[in-house]
Structures are given as structure tokens and as C-alpha cells.
Amino acid sequence: MTKFKGDVSIVLGGAAGQGIQTVEEILTHALKKSGYHVYANKEYMSRIRGGINTTEIRVSSKRVRAFVKRIDILVPFKQGVLSWVKDRLGENTVVLGEKENIEEEFLGNVNLVEVPLTKMAMEVGSQLYLNTTAAGLIVGLFHGDFKAVEEYLKKRFGSKGENVVKKNIEAAKKGYELGVKLCEDGTIKVEVERDERVKEEVLLTGTEAVGIGAFAGGMNFLSFYPMSPSTGVSTFAAQHAEEFEIVVEQVEDEISAINMAIGAWYAGARAMVSTSGGGFALMSEAISLAGMAENPVVVHLAQRPGPATGLPTRTMQGDLNLVLYSGHGDFPRIILAPGSLEEAFYLTAEAFNLADKYQVPVIILTDQYFVDTYYNLPAPDVEKVKFERHIVEAKPGYRRYELTEDGISPRAVAGYGEDVVIANGNEHDEWGDITEDAELTVKMQEKRAVRKLETIKKNAPLPKLIGRENAKYLVIAWGSTLHVVEEALEKLGREDVALLHFSWVYPLNPKVREFFEGKVLIDVENNITGQFAELLKKEFGVEVHHRILKYDGRPFSVEEVLEGLKEVIE
């Protein structure tokens, strides 16, 4: 008998197009609705059919939000899955599935619990029901709420007719009963406590958190060119465009996407583009225009490994330097990198206020791991979102680029007020007309690149310190690694190690330096050079003492961060 307590990591593996996602959706929703904390993340190949994709689902009695390497229960849907996840299998891993899906070499040396999923599905009527059967099976292992499974299936297949719903429920029921039986006869034992509050929570993905955050921030225009892993946000916006009454347009290329968004902001819309590194590279010309013309724009960049096309469906935090330095000439920008789904919601909403206020490009950096992650959380408080409008009326004599103390000129939009608004990507005078005057050039350069930057820095929020202020070791992380590092630190259980997490990545408030004083600094980043550590060096002259880097296109697991930390500390 194999027993799992408190926190179970289930991995489903199969070919693209085999419907693993369906299994994942049904069971995460049903388990959440049953009062279990759930977390899921997938890794997939850049192909539409075949290959091997896996999904990890953690089911836990307390909140879990991070990827673990450990596999407790593995459900392979085809041969090759076990080889693919070989290094994640442990002594206690239970392989739940059919013999045909297991490679010869593993037969006999894994804990195999045979379940005739295909046969069961055929009994219902077709192999098509295999996914639903498998989902039911896992929910059964947890004695989950079968009503929740039914509800979800009705919602999901309702449009396909009563019979489809009925058959799917029947298939799920078969699976469910087998799951319950496996526990009752002592084959597998899972002990995970329920938490009633979870039922009332929401289940969100990173993509949705960014997308709905943008809507909360008043986004009413989105232009894009598809590129993994950013496309989800554009799809989300398109799916909600009618409801929210916004403009969403798939354009000819990324150059057009960002220029359209820039035009939209010029006319007072709140526009965003969603892209990945390669697409952003094409946008850098327009980012520079936004810098010179002091035109707000919001970009969501979901990172994937580069250079060039890199690994299209995998993850990395490798585009910080790209967004930090993109565009020619000197001008400020704001870079945000949410660590949690809550942060993704609030920060994305706030990005629109920031762009509006400071009139700079605001870039929200996520990555494949982040956008594809989901877990349950209390619904964000929509009342906390502030809508700040920074538009002024163009009164007679209006000057778009008026020189001001804080470097921020009042921004009018075309059509509001009697006077006109002249924006310009050439060096300009206060009215917006071209100038080659040396003195004025100096003033304008200083306004944009120094005074405005200082204003933003002064108002930049500080990073979040998790742990003791006087801890000897300070782990530094940014963006999507938040929860993995957090859980690794919990497991490490040492009071002399704290975490400093940055979701406001640039520009940094000068006070940030104080966090580093007298500490042993350990940088954790999902890239090969430690781009954020380099930024800290440049900004504060601070040299991190240790770097824990991962750059194989996969996210950090809790175990890897823990090991890395132990090596450094012990």
C-alpha cells in the first residue's frame, strides 16, 4: 500500500491532442469545489499533435502554489511518458494506468496500479470517454464531491447535447467508483484534509489574472500578433471583447500592434499589446517612439527562452535585459513582474494608471511558467483597484511638452479641449514642434531621462520582505519564482534566511539598497547570467554573493531551490 498525506502531486502525461487538458480541468475544478487546495502547471512541446506533454496537479490540505519535481501519482496516457519524467520518479511514485502505456524497461520496477481506463471507456460507448474516466478516477481517490464533477461536465459539454453530458457523467462515475475502491481495498491511501473556505475561492490562471487585471485597469484596446506564450492574454481579451465593449485586433505584425496601441493612447484609450520576446524585439522601435513622444503604452511580455525562436513553449526569465534596454536613446520605462496571481491582477490594473501618469512604456513581464500556472485563491478585491485618469483638457495655448519640475507634462488628448495636441518622435519644443536647438535639446533630454526617471523612482514601491529583517542570508527573487522560493524557504526552515521578492523590477527606489546592507545575498533566477543581479550591480553597486540559476527551459522546482540554498548555506 502506498500512502500520501497532506499534499499529493499528480502528473498526467500524454501526447498533444490526447486531451490531458480536459482531465486536468475536470479534476482541478471538482477537487477545488470539494474543498481541496489545488495547483496546476503544464509543460508542453511546440507541436500540435504527438510528442509528450505533462501536467502537474498538486492537491493539498493547505495552500500550494509552486512546482515540485516530486511525482506521487503518475498517469501515463501513452508510451514514453515514464522515460520523459524518469528523473522525477521516486520510490513512492505510484503509476496509475494501463500496461500498454508503460515502456518495457519500467515494468517491474515501478509501483504499478493497473486501471483499465480504455476498457471502462469502451463500456460507456467509446474510447472518447477515456479522459473523463481518468478524471473521475482521480477525484474518486480523494473521495471528492461527485456532484461537482457532474456540474462541471454539464457546463463543459452542455452545448453538445444531453446525451454527450449523460455519457460523460457515466464515464466519470465509473472512474470515480474505481478510485474510491482503490482506497477502500487499501491499494492507495490519500489523506488530504478539506478546507471549506476553498469552495468559495476562485481558480485562476496567470493568463486570466493578467487579462482580467487589464480590464480592471480600464483597458479598452488590445492589438496583437500571436506568439506563445503570450497569446492566451490576447485570446482572453478577444473572448471578452463584446462583453467589455473594447477594440481587439489581430494585426499584421508586432510593429503594427504596438504602433496601433501608441496611436490609441494618443487619442486617450487605454491600450495594451501582449507579446513574447521575439515580438517585443520588433516593437523596440516603437518603444523608443513612446519614450521620445512621452506616449503611454502598456506591454505584456510573456517570456520564453531565447535567443531568436528559442524554445517556443518553455520558460525562462531571460528578457529582462531586452525590456530594460530596448529602444535607442535614453528614456525611462517601468518594468513590473508579478509573483502571484493576486499581484498579476492588481499590478496589471495599476500598469494603466502608471502609463497614464508617467507617460512611459510600462512592461509587465511574465513567463510561460507563470501564465500557464493556476491555483485557487480568494477572489481579488475589485474595490481595491483605483482608476486614475491623468488626462487634461487642451485649453488655448496648450503645450504638450511643457517643461515642469517633476518632468511630467500635462497630457491632453486630441479632441478634448479647444486647442490641438502635437506629439512628436523628433526632438521637440514645448509645443511639440521639431527643434534642433542645443539648449532645448538638453532641457528635453534632462526632463525625460533624468527628472521624470527620478520622479518615478521616488514613488516606486519597495520589494516584499518575507522573513526576518535581521536574517543573515537574503534570497533575492523577482517575478514568477516567488512561490517556489517561498516554499523552499519554508522547507529549509531557517530563521536566518529571508526572501526579498521584487515585482516592481525597474526603476528601483533608492531605498531598496538598505535591504542589502550587511547581508549574504543569494540570487535566484531562471536565466543563465543572473540579469536581475546585474541590474542590482549597476543600480546600487551591490554584488550578490551567490547565484542559483536555472536555464534549461524548465521552471525551478521547490526541491531544486532548496538544494541550491542548502549548498550555499550549509
Binding site: A414, W431, D433
Partner: protein, 294 residues
């Protein structure tokens, strides 16, 4: 050009300090285009704050500085997507995208193609001097074969771009060509282009007195003619006319009325308010979260 100017024209004369020193060469056709445009805007009874002129980069693209209207001098080739964004955010504005033949046909060529498909209600004015002015005389996509330039000393051998034929081939909503030397006719064409609902492309021939010694004022007069008997709703006839190369036909080649981009996007189906006046729909955000509880 001693033409009687209409009233209302002075509204569009800029008084800003930076707009007084015009950077065009004396004798350049750009001056004529400016007069034509200002006259057209005034005759249409528009106000400066109702108009937005979005230009790319080049001599032609300096236009926003010499007119009193909302303006955005942007990047080489990018006027069309920016203008599309402006119009889609505030359909109440009269939006004009303006630039040279290099700007619109070379660097911005891809955007032009897709703007035709997208059909935003904007007017695209191309100052076609058949050469690059601002960068000093290199060949442009419309330079005639055989013309020698500093960067094509052997003479241009590429086939010149035919914007009119292209527009008709892609079923653009409005395609016209004019020569800025014909003031009144040009004003009429540009007025019609601005009034046209949908993307209107006007290729405006104009001499570059500094770098194009072939296509002079006299050359354009000798090598163009007005189409009198042409039905712009006849696509085939329009296409035939578009293929004529010497003399070049002038006038409105083609009109195809169809829904515009702004009419198709979900943003304005029920609510015509420009986007800048809108607030976040927080009620819908809350509803979204309610549904996510399942």
C-alpha cells in the same frame, strides 16, 4: 497659384513658434500640398481640434508642424497603424495619415496592405515625388526605371510600384491619384477622400526640385491627364486605367463602399463614446470572479 482662398482657412494656419520656419526647399511641391490640404479642411468646415494628422518620417511627414490641427509626427513607415489606433479610439476625429512614397510604400508597405483589408475610416495621403527627399535623393519604390541616383548610379532597374493598381487589386475602399499642380481638382479629390467612409488612398504626385530632375512640374503636366468618362464603381475599368503608364490618368479611380474597422469592432456596437471617456467596467470584473468560483 493665385487662387481665392476660402474663409476658415486661417484657423489651420499655425501660430506656434516652431511652425514658422518651414524646412521644405523653396519651390517644393510640399507647399502646394499643404495649401490643398488646409483648403480642403476649411471647405469641409472642420475645426483644428476635430482633425488629427498622423505622419511618418520624411520631408512630407513634417506636415503636422505646418498646420494647426492635432498632429503626431511618428516613425518612418508607421503612420498608418498609429492613425488606425487613433481613429479606433475616437471615431469622432477626422484622421489623416500622411507621408512620402518611401514612408508609405517602402518602410510602411506591409501596413498599407493590411490597412486596405482592415478598412479604418482614415485618409492616407501619399506625397509621391518618386524619390527619397529627406535622405537626399535615393530611389523610392515609385522611381521610374532608368533614373540614376547616388545609390543607383547604374540606373534603377526595379519595376516601379503601382499604388493605384495595388489599391484596386486589394479592393480598397477609395483610390485616387492627383498632381498637386492642379490646385482646385486636388482640393476636390482630397475633400472627397476625407468624406469617404472607409480607407481612402490618395497618391499625390509632386515634384522634388532638389533631387528629382526627371519628374518636374512640366513633366507631370505633360505626362498626366484627367479621367472624364470614368465610373469609379466599375472595378475592372478602374484596374485598366490603373495600368496606363504614360500619360498617367488622374482622378478618382475606384470607390467601394463597405463597413469600416470602427463599425466592426465590438467597442462601438452599442456605445459610441470615444474610448478616452470610458471607465473600467468593474461590475463585469466582479462578475468574472463570481463565475470563477463556479
Amino acid at each position: 497659384m493665385n487662387v481665392q482662398l476660402p474663409t476658415g482657412r486661417e484657423l489651420f494656419e499655425p501660430k506656434r513658434p516652431g511652425s514658422q520656419d518651414i524646412a521644405w526647399c523653396p519651390g517644393c511641391g510640399n507647399f502646394g500640398i499643404r495649401n490643398i490640404l488646409i483648403t480642403a479642411l476649411a471647405e469641409l468646415g472642420l475645426k483644428p481640434n476635430q482633425v488629427a494628422i498622423i505622419s511618418g518620417i520624411g520631408q512630407a511627414a513634417k506636415m503636422p508642424h505646418y498646420i494647426n490641427a492635432n498632429g503626431y509626427h511618428t516613425l518612418h513607415g508607421r503612420a498608418i497603424p498609429i492613425a488606425t489606433g487613433v481613429k479606433a479610439s475616437n471615431p469622432e476625429l477626422t484622421v489623416i495619415a500622411e507621408g512620402g512614397d518611401g514612408d508609405m510604400y517602402a518602410e510602411g508597405g506591409n501596413h498599407l496592405l493590411h490597412a486596405i483589408r482592415r478598412n479604418p475610416d482614415i485618409t492616407v495621403l501619399i506625397h509621391d515625388n518618386q524619390v527619397y527627399g529627406l535622405t537626399k535623393g535615393q530611389a523610392s519604390p515609385t522611381t521610374m526605371k532608368g533614373m540614376k541616383t547616388p545609390t543607383q548610379p547604374w540606373g534603377v532597374f526595379e519595376e516601379p510600384f503601382n499604388p493605384v493598381a495595388l489599391g484596386i487589386a486589394l479592393d480598397a475602399s477609395f483610390v485616387a491619384r492627383t498632381f498637386m499642380g492642379y490646385f482646385k481638382e486636388s482640393v476636390e479629390i482630397i475633400k472627397k477622400a476625407i468624406q469617404h467612409k472607409g480607407l481612402a488612398i490618395v497618391d499625390i504626385l509632386h515634384p522634388c526640385v532638389s533631387f528629382n530632375k526627371v519628374n518636374t512640374y512640366a513633366w507631370y503636366r505633360e505626362h498626366t491627364y484627367w479621367m472624364d468618362d470614368h465610373d469609379p464603381y466599375d472595378r475592372e475599368a478602374a484596374f485598366k486605367r490603373a495600368l496606363e503608364s504614360d500619360p498617367l490618368p488622374l482622378g478618382i479611380f475606384y470607390i467601394h463602399e463597405k463597413p469600416t474597422f470602427e463599425e466592426m469592432v465590438p467597442a462601438y456596437r452599442k456605445d459610441k463614446t470615444p474610448l478616452w471617456k470610458r471607465e473600467p467596467k468593474l461590475g463585469l470584473v466582479k462578475k468574472f470572479f463570481e463565475e470563477k468560483k463556479l
